[in-house]
């Protein structure tokens, strides 16, 4: 799935599964991230994003599967695997009685020795240079988030795992983070795994998007593939419908309607492909009640893929 196959793999997840009792948190997740790639990890609340990130960082131990970072297994060779990994998981909480500079100094020293100059550079990068010698106690949530990003960048991270990094950031902070991630990826070949509910930001920053729902990966698409999916055709068919409808080129997803008498099948197709799609569907025995075409955007793709279905009582509403 890597767009640039010649690049080294920063992260490789194979068949990663995790259960809490009978509850499935992660279900056979396969995922790769190449060096320099920015991957957006999306999913409704409780989909398993944070558990996946924790598993990558060795905070949570998968029941099954393998996770490698830069070729090192995160369970058996954690120190090497995470040597150049920076992360924010959930809200970054710092010892409030230390200054921002001290926090960064002590935390980054756990990975490698870092000069004071480098610490100040990173603080400057996240807009906290003036607060370097202030205790974290007096920081706002947004400032703590910036400090969290700063600690993830130190000492010289080549792979960033950012769980909701834009939380609490003001618009300047969000724009700054967007620029920073682009720069890190393009100029410094840093790989980034970022989870966010700000889909507009994900669209702008990420070269690839993975959506998980109920612990299952339901989409893994590059920016170009998303753009193609963006232009989608939805046909509403009477149920039961022939399973062969899913074999038609461009098929994305099916959504059973509340009444269960009809299902909406989505295909990534331009408007010119609508007549051919209808001809093929009818040829396969489908009873079509309506056809819609339009640009959907990541938000609509996300909602359609993770919407309430018969086998999915997840969260497209409160």
């Amino acid at each position: 799935m890597c767009p640039e196959n010649e690049k080294r793999i920063a992260l490789s997840c194979r068949n990663v599964s995790k259960h809490y009792g009978s509850r499935v948190i992660l279900d056979s997740i396969d995922m790769d991230i190449a060096e320099g790639e920015v991957l957006g990890l999306l999913g409704p609340n409780g989909a398993g994003k944070t558990t996946l990130m924790k598993s990558i960082l060795g905070l949570s131990c998968p029941d099954d599967g393998e996770i490698e970072v830069f070729g090192h297994d995160v369970i058996s060779d954690r120190a090497r695997a995470l040597a150049r990994v920076g992360a924010i998981v959930e809200a970054p909480m710092f010892p409030v009685y230390l200054t921002a500079r001290d926090c960064l100094y002590y935390l980054s020293a756990l990975s490698a020795k870092v000069s004071d100059k480098r610490i100040m550079e990173v603080l400057d990068l996240v807009g906290l240079s003036e607060a370097a010698d202030r205790k974290v106690e007096g920081f706002s949530y947004g400032m703590k988030q910036r400090l969290g990003i700063a600690q993830a960048l130190l000492p010289d991270s080549k792979f960033l795992i950012l769980d909701e990094p834009a939380n609490g950031l003001d618009p300047h902070g969000i724009a700054g983070m967007r620029r920073l991630l682009r720069k890190l990826s393009a100029e410094m070949n840093v790989s980034v795994l970022v989870s966010s509910h700000l889909l507009h930001e994900v669209e702008q920053v990420c070269g690839r998007v993975v959506i998980i729902n109920k612990g299952k990966k339901i989409l893994d698409a590059t920016h170009d593939e998303l753009a193609a999916m963006d232009e989608a055709v939805s046909i509403t068919v009477k149920t039961p419908y022939p399973e062969t409808l899913k074999e038609i080129v461009g098929f994305i997803s099916e959504t059973l309607l509340e009444e269960k008498d009809f299902a909406v099948l989505r295909y990534a197709l331009p408007s010119a492909g609508v007549p051919e799609l209808v001809r093929q569907a009818v040829g396969k025995g489908a009873e079509i009640s309506s056809v819609e075409h339009g640009k959907s955007g990541l938000e609509n793709i996300f909602i359609s893929l993770t919407a309430r279905r018969e086998d999915n009582d997840s969260t497209d509403s409160f």
Partner: protein
């Protein structure tokens, strides 16, 4: 590992809660001074036990500095250490700062050891602060040193009193007692780490570890329940008190008790490490 230990020590010592220990040292000194003053004016049975000559010797720097270590090493510091351990591990887990350390390329075992070292360092500061403060305060109050009169009751030792003449050996004895009491505190810290890792809840960890320690300690003091004593860590942990015997029973009591204390401490830390390794964070 050095960076991790430095970080943990810095965090431990930077917390305002750590001033609690210094507050305890001041408080116990105040209570002890008042106790000494009252005893001096109303000696009661001590006067009959020691006689007039020894009674005059009783209120000096050596006696004060040696006596004050007993309540601190038996009760005060172990309780304090249980609370500090709860802050250092369960408290950090609850707040979320533990995760920041755990996402770094350091093993959980190293994190646990670094935290144990930080708490041991804190314990050393508390013991040192007690020694210095009691020395200074007793010097100001009594204004003189003298023979070290060890009252058996004060140390839960089976004799009425022992007199060690003023001199370098006596000071060595006192310093040895303080040092050993610090070692015994590190064993209490190991036990507290087990409950802290197992519960990952600040209040629960502090309550369980202090309750377990105090319950074991109380039972150890009851001769009627001597059958259970060999199985309780508190039977061995106060090995520091043997330094207050006229002739230190190194081979008969002190070393064996130290060894058993080390075994208990290693078992507690081993279990804590197993809990820590197996849990998701």
């Amino acid at each position: 590992m050095i960076a991790l230990i430095r970080f943990e020590i810095r965090k431990t010592l930077s917390q305002n809660k750590c001033l609690l220990g210094l507050g305890c040292v001041i408080l116990i000194n105040v209570v002890f001074i008042l106790g000494f003053i009252i005893k001096k004016s109303e000696p009661g049975h001590i006067s009959r036990m020691l006689g007039e000559k020894l009674l005059k010797e009783l209120f000096n720097v050596c006696v004060y500095v040696a006596s004050i270590v007993s309540p601190c090493a038996y009760i005060l510091f172990p309780v304090l250490i249980c609370i500090i351990v709860s802050y250092v591990f369960a408290g950090e887990y609850e707040i979320g700062t533990l995760r920041l350390t755990m996402v770094r390329p350091v093993s959980r075992l190293k994190i646990l050891i670094a935290k144990w070292v930080a708490v041991a360092f804190y314990g050393a500061i508390m013991v040192g602060a007690l020694f210095v403060s009691s020395l200074a305060i007793s010097w100001l109050m009594a204004g003189r040193t003298g023979d070290l009169i060890i009252i058996g009751d004060v140390f839960a030792l089976p004799f009425k009193f022992v007199v060690l003449p003023d001199g370098i050996d006596t000071y060595g004895r006192i310093i040895l007692t303080y040092f050993l009491s610090w070692l015994s505190l590190t064993a209490v810290a190991s036990m507290a780490f087990l409950f802290s890792v197992a519960t990952r809840n600040l209040a629960l960890s502090a309550i369980i570890s202090t309750t377990v320690y105090l319950s074991c300690h109380v039972v150890t003091q009851i001769p009627f329940l001597s059958g259970i004593h060999p199985f309780l860590p508190t039977r061995y942990i106060p090995f520091w008190r043997y330094a207050m015997l006229e002739k230190i029973p190194w081979e008969k009591s002190l070393f064996p008790d130290m060894l058993w204390t080390a075994v208990f401490a290693l078992a507690f830390m081993g279990l804590a490490a197993v809990f820590y390794e197996r849990r998701d964070f």
